[in-house]
Symmetry: C2
Subunit: 582 residues, 2 copies
Amino acid sequence: MKLLRRYLPILEWGRTYDRNALTNDLVAAVIVTIMLIPQSLAYALLAGLPPEAGIYASIVPILLYAVFGTSRALAVGPVAVVSLLTASAVGQVAAQGTAGYAVAALTLAGLSGGFLMILGVLRLGFLANFLSHPVIAGFITASGLLIATSQLKHIFGIKAGGENLLEMVLSLFEHLGQTNLITLVIGVCATAFLFWVRKGLKPLLRRIGFGPRLADMITKVGPVAAVVVTTALVSTLHLDESGVSIVGAVPQSLPPFTLPDFSLDLVSQLALPAILISIIGFVESISVAETLAAKKRQRINPDQELIGLGAANLGAAFTGGYPVTGGFARSVVNFDAGAETPAAGAFTAVGLAIAAVALTPLVYFLPKATLAATIVVAVLSLVDFSILKKTWTYSRSDFAAVITTILLTLGLGVEIGVASGVVLSVLLHLYKTSRPHVAEVGLVPGTQHFRNVDRHKVDTNAGLLSLRIDESLYFVNARFLEDLIQNRVQEGTRIRNVVLMCSAVNEIDYSALESLEAINRRLKDMGIGLHLSEVKGPVMDKLKTSHFIDDLNGEVFLSQYRAWDQLTRFPYPVSSMDAASL
Amino acid sequence: MKLLRRYLPILEWGRTYDRNALTNDLVAAVIVTIMLIPQSLAYALLAGLPPEAGIYASIVPILLYAVFGTSRALAVGPVAVVSLLTASAVGQVAAQGTAGYAVAALTLAGLSGGFLMILGVLRLGFLANFLSHPVIAGFITASGLLIATSQLKHIFGIKAGGENLLEMVLSLFEHLGQTNLITLVIGVCATAFLFWVRKGLKPLLRRIGFGPRLADMITKVGPVAAVVVTTALVSTLHLDESGVSIVGAVPQSLPPFTLPDFSLDLVSQLALPAILISIIGFVESISVAETLAAKKRQRINPDQELIGLGAANLGAAFTGGYPVTGGFARSVVNFDAGAETPAAGAFTAVGLAIAAVALTPLVYFLPKATLAATIVVAVLSLVDFSILKKTWTYSRSDFAAVITTILLTLGLGVEIGVASGVVLSVLLHLYKTSRPHVAEVGLVPGTQHFRNVDRHKVDTNAGLLSLRIDESLYFVNARFLEDLIQNRVQEGTRIRNVVLMCSAVNEIDYSALESLEAINRRLKDMGIGLHLSEVKGPVMDKLKTSHFIDDLNGEVFLSQYRAWDQLTRFPYPVSSMDAASL
């Protein structure tokens, strides 16, 4: 039962569901549904899929997440970055508009769902941590720019392509002569209107007397006005006959049952993109979920979130959708609108199902330029270059990771961009730990505390060299320590004892153990004692399984102060003891 | 002048060179030369090259290393593992026995030399540390097995192939019917004799009255007896006419001037293998050099070693050789025979040059089975499975790296094997640091020292949670800390202050900084103070460049004892102070 409740969070919140929660959830669902209709169509366009795929991807996945997910406010569905990644991955195995393209998108969702499920069951959610904050920030910013640029062709009403920013911009200029002026007017006006809704509408509503919450809600559903007005214009003035691209016929149906193609050939081509989409989607989703949960002192279980998102993606794969995740904008709207439980998501799914059956004929004349405007305005809010300045001030290596991710994402595409960011972060971290900071320490007078001799006024002793090693000892820096001690001992000829203060040594791996053994042998040959102090429990447990402690030409002290106290008062206890046995 | 002396260590030892050193170096050179003649021919055979390539690879490279290298005893030339790597890399771009094969081997040496030079000049020798001790040990053992197996075909006198251990063994069985019995007798006798020389000759010589040093030297040159006897047998009994493979005509010449082929196509195919060969060769060489230097209290400069080995490989590329490095067996012989300076190497080069001009006709009838026996006996001494037991006892993750390296090297080849070992070591390290050990600490009574509450008898305080974080904080574990503190604070409802004891935190990267900011915000909302103690200088310097210290809802204490002292006596100083400003 406990296990069941762990895997089915719905059993937890379902028991206490009441009328009050129902009302709040229903209100939130209505608002989110109105907001999601144009957004779903737009993201499907971005993913290169027929518009209905966006709606379908918002129905069953939301229901499944409501059963398996742990966040009470997360709204799952198509999002901008994942749509872009889908277009990039599926575009490599099939041409847009073909049946193969839609099937590959299903396969991608299926693989992604399966991968998330496996991670969740094996409790491997920590893998997402390999995406550092700077890499994510750089990637999201670069993706936002790429997505906005990719939509300009719809606003100009031209055909253009390109895999990276440069190609896109060049292709736009090349086809600029074919601009459809009516489309451009619709696109530019819609964009301007949507920006104004975002920035200017709420203050205006407040000034004319609306309450803050109502003003907020109206602002969120404002984009629907652009959809309604431009659709009406195209429909009444027959602008489609003047070359304005429209959404066209969308089947009136509930999500169909679909089968992804899991042939070995397709799976091997889509496996890596699926992993990437899963991890990026998970990271985006969990950040939103944790932010919203913290506001209400609720807890998110990352491993269960993997299962929730995995189920949602599997749902998308079998009901005509494509990869989904928890979206930032829709989740915040859901939360602000008062959603209390995942039931709000379920009601949203019902609302979208009604829309899929009843409202699709109404979007026949909806211009693609309006959808493009929706996307442009949504993604430009993701673009934030301030991360460059922040990381530059704090840490050059984090800056290097951000700038690399941004430039490579823009120049070589999303997959190479984010992969390079991850690899570079890891390499920079290893580089930093390969040359650890080692401080010679002395006693802070009047205390039992030891600090760096170069930074603090401390007492030292010429016969005793105390080194604090500021890093775990492992293969990447094992030889470094050998060299360092050799050099320090040759400089200080009066040294009789070396103490390695291990308060910052969190691990000693086998390579480092062999290096310590070599150091011990060499110091012993020179008649110098080697001691350790403040070795942590887990490290000491491991050392005891080797011969190192037995062979040590010195002692292991509980604290650096005890080492200091004993070795300054009795300077050669160990070397004289051992001299007989040499 | 100082710079010149850094890059030309010969200027250092050359100034004090005297008659005594000359005598010792000459004696060592004679012994090493006698030992190297069969070995060079054998390793060329292993690399798939004509026998003279092995001799050429031992002449100019030794001379160049004598000028640029820092080790006084290292003997540079062809070695078993690098020969195997050469055969594997060159075999992928050309067929054995063709002119293209020999040229590709030159190119490989040239690329390797260039790469080593660049690493040396940029002082990037630490990159070699990515090969952990367990990975090297596993790789050397697996390579020894592969090499020994690859030579069995010469001992049986059959043609067999295979890229990995399984293929080799299967191919051997398949061709076993074609065994040449005379070859087999020669091969088995030579192998048995060489094993006996290694194990049984020295005790015998000592028993019949030879001095220990002389007995040792005779043992080292003993293998030449196998060469002389089997060559004489084949030559007088015309066994080559009965199908015994012989070395055949070897040109009588000094090393020729050769040009590697640096066409883009070949370079791109050989670049990765060249990097691998360089790093493995460097690691093998530097281990030998440091071991020997430590015995005489001499110093090795790793970056200058890169330049020395780089020069040696460039020399090999332009004089008909193939990739070389400092060999273990020959360097130890050189050292034991009394070599005092790199001049011993130069004299060895002269000796081999004389051999190349005068002695090559004498090896015409040398059976390849004898050379194969030389290789088998040499490499089986490299095979050492004890590393499996040692790492199993000490650390499961080191064991995983060893076993993976061994199995993949045997099963998929040397390049994949060693690369997988490196990647796995890095991933395991990251995994370990992703879930750091965090100890709740208390005061050891009567001291100012704090230790883990679960391991030591210590004083604690219900209002104060002191956590010692046993890891640097960086992107891989940033979220872990957030979750951990959230959980601990929710468990302990009386907690008023949290102190993060940072004695083991060697770095806080930008991702971790953002996590700390989030922790600070959440604790502040709950009316709990967040404090740091024992923050190291370099970490504090970085934190000061951000707003974190200003925003901190608490203090930074120099020592954990001061934090304890103040926060147990005045439990809510910070939260009450800040309550006004909330």
